[in-house]
């Protein structure tokens, strides 16, 4: 697949503040890419440069083979779904959706047909003559979406479009957006700070932090093989532990983590020429049981605290050596045993679940 978007060494500064810092990014045609990061990380600024509302301080932006770095927003073949939806309050649903076609001077007959098509696609039949203020949040969201896709842009940019919806509706819209994107075969660039949203919908996720892309990859790559402490901590949860290499034994190595616990990990990921590194362990990878566990790493710990969270049970553990770890287990009836604060438990960790990450 050819690259639909190429971002080459793009930097954006606002005065002394560098919002986007030398970012390189390729987005394939028909790909669903998510820019994920905390607020102020530069993801929205990058999106606004793609739509043309900001101009890069340095670097080049290419969309569909055309250099658009300095092209005005109204000359770009991209459309955006705004966080506030930005529906024109004085126009009906139909007029809102048809605005782009009107600007392109599409003949009335064709425009009417395309508007009807897209209204069907986003399930807004019967609402054509309503004004935005007569619609629910979810319906407004659909109008904003329909308005942005009806001119058939090369790229659809979405700026946290689901953040104003309640949790149930948000999940439903996530699926619908994904389905729509597949159906249209359109390139989507989606901005969010919600990791769950990113994991659910994206082909690839670019994790942003302080104006830079920390890591880019599929949802599973990002989740299972985080490169940096920031990624490990931002997507899902992580026990981040300082570790020191104690001994090497073929493909595995023995490390001592903060607090004193000794663990075995795969040596291939240990940075060469370093005796210390940061290790990330996902809480759900920590196996916990009252009986002895089969795993490469087995140790005992005391449950300091138990937080019942419905589906999950969160345990704060402290090993005999004094290392603190958080573990997440399915609730007690699912694992057929009750674990409570004060209990002595066996813990297990597989070699592959110890991930070495770059410090933030």
């Amino acid at each position: 697949m050819s690259a639909m978007i190429e971002v080459r060494g793009v930097t954006k500064r606002f005065g002394d503040f560098t919002a986007v810092d030398r970012v390189d990014l390729h987005v394939a045609e028909g790909e669903f890419l998510t820019l994920l990061g905390p607020s102020g990380c530069g993801k929205t600024t990058l999106l606004r440069m793609l739509s043309g509302f900001e101009t890069p301080t340095e670097g080049t932006l290419v969309i569909g083979g055309e250099d658009v770095t300095h092209l005005a927003p109204y000359r770009r073949n991209v459309n955006q779904v705004f966080q506030s939806y930005a529906l024109f309050p004085h126009m009906t649903v139909e007029e809102n959706i048809g605005f782009g076609l009107r600007m392109q001077k599409v003949p009335a007959e064709e425009a009417a047909r395309r508007i009807a098509e897209v209204i069907d696609l986003v399930a807004l039949k019967g609402f054509e003559q309503r004004k935005p203020h007569q619609l629910s949040g979810g319906q407004r969201q659909r109008v904003a979406l329909a308005r942005a896709i009806v001119p058939r842009p090369k790229v659809l940019l979405l700026d946290e479009p689901l953040s104003a919806l309640d949790a149930k509706l948000r999940q439903q819209m996530q699926l619908e957006l994904k389905r729509l994107q597949k159906h249209l075969g359109m390139t989507f660039v989606f901005v969010t700070h919600d990791q769950e949203e990113a994991l659910t919908m994206s082909d690839r996720i670019a994790v942003f932090n302080r104006g830079r892309i920390e890591q880019i990859g599929s949802a599973t790559e990002i989740y299972h093989k985080p490169c940096t402490a920031f990624v490990a901590d931002f997507i899902g949860e992580a026990n981040l532990l300082d570790a020191e290499l104690v001994s090497r034994n073929g493909t595995t190595g023995r490390i001592r983590v903060e607090g004193g616990l000794e663990l075995t990990l795969a040596l291939s990921q240990w940075p060469q020429d370093h005796s210390r590194a940061l290790v990330s362990i996902r809480p759900e990878k920590v196996l916990v049981s009252k009986s002895r566990i089969e795993a490469e790493n087995v140790f005992q710990a005391t449950v300091r605290e138990e937080l019942f969270q419905g589906v999950l049970d969160r345990l704060h553990l402290e090993t005999g050596a004094g290392t603190r770890l958080t573990a997440v287990v399915a609730n007690e009836s699912a694992i057929l045993e009750a674990i409570h604060a004060g209990d002595q438990v066996w813990c297990g960790l597989h070699v592959d679940d110890l991930i070495v990450v770059r410090p933030a």
Binding site: S51, G52, F53, A72, P73, Y74, V78, N79, Q80, F82, Q83, S84, A86, L87, F88, P89, H90, F99, G100, M103, Q104, R147, A148, P151
Partner: protein
């Protein structure tokens, strides 16, 4: 949409507060009497047969007929309407476009411009009148409709600008971006999206400009010629000679027009909200 007041929000006042409440009610009546009694008297005496505003002799429509027949008054009214209409149009255009440009783009002297625009609103009219007169005579511009309209626009457009600016502050900045994103040039985005959103502010600002221009006296006095004399100017001249029930009738007509105008714009506003 107005929400109905629920009956549970009504409550019984304790007796001590009842007296207080009655006193407040009385005070309110007094305030309204102070505001509206002179106007009521003025309207009543416009139907008085007597030339004097102090004794009631009988009912007549005569003064209204005389107003209608007085060519000088009618001419002045026509002048006033021309001046107010052109002034309002110019003020709406300058005020709206100016507010948008100041809101949307950053200029080096934005802040100074903002302050300078507000000055004509608070400048004593006598100062404005004299300075404009000096200005026009220096440029040897002949006094007439043109000079009156220019003078009126100078102090009327800031009211439109301020009203529109207030509205712009509450407007979602994404609206313009959405229009640009969908292929509208900045000018089309302004005309097709921003202006419709500003309609209530433009309407109220324009109304303000029209009213101000209609009853302006001092600046007009300095900048008009005999041909372009407005109604307030003529009325002022007539009143100096002596009060005349014709002026009462004229005032009553003005009140009627104002009320009709306010009701009409309120109606328009309700329609546009639908």
């Amino acid at each position: 949409m107005p929400t109905p007041v629920s009956s549970s929000s009504r409550f019984q006042l304790p007796s001590g507060l009842k007296l207080m409440n009655a006193a407040l009610g009385g005070w309110t009546v007094l305030v309204f009497a102070f505001l509206y009694l002179p106007i009521a008297v003025l309207v009543i005496y416009s139907f008085n047969t007597s030339r004097l505003n102090i004794v009631w002799e009988g009912f007549t429509f005569d003064w209204y007929a005389r107003v209608w027949q007085d060519t000088r008054l009618m001419r002045a009214l026509q002048n006033s309407l021309i001046v107010a209409t052109v002034t309002t149009t110019a003020s709406v255009v300058i005020g709206t476009v100016g507010a948008w440009l100041l809101h949307r783009y950053r200029y080096r002297f934005s802040h100074a411009i903002q302050t300078l625009i507000a000055v004509p609103m608070i400048m004593p009219e006598i100062v404005m009148g004299i300075s404009l007169l000096i200005f026009f005579t220096t440029l040897s511009v002949e006094l007439g409709f043109f000079t009156v309209i220019v003078a009126h626009t100078t102090f009327c457009f800031p009211f439109v600008l301020v009203a529109v600016q207030a509205r712009l502050h509450g407007l979602d900045p994404s609206l313009e971006e959405a229009a640009l994103d969908l292929g509208a040039t900045p000018i089309r985005a302004f005309w097709l999206v921003i202006v419709p959103c500003l309609k209530p502010a433009i309407l109220s600002g324009g109304l303000m400009a029209f009213t101000l221009s209609m009853d302006e006296l001092i600046v007009t006095f300095f900048t008009s010629s005999a041909q372009s004399a407005t109604l307030p100017l003529l009325v002022f001249g007539m009143a100096k000679v002596g009060l005349n029930p014709m002026l009462n009738a004229l005032s009553a007509l003005f009140i009627l027009a104002t009320v009709a105008f306010v009701l009409f714009t309120e109606h328009l506003r309700r329609m546009s909200r639908r």
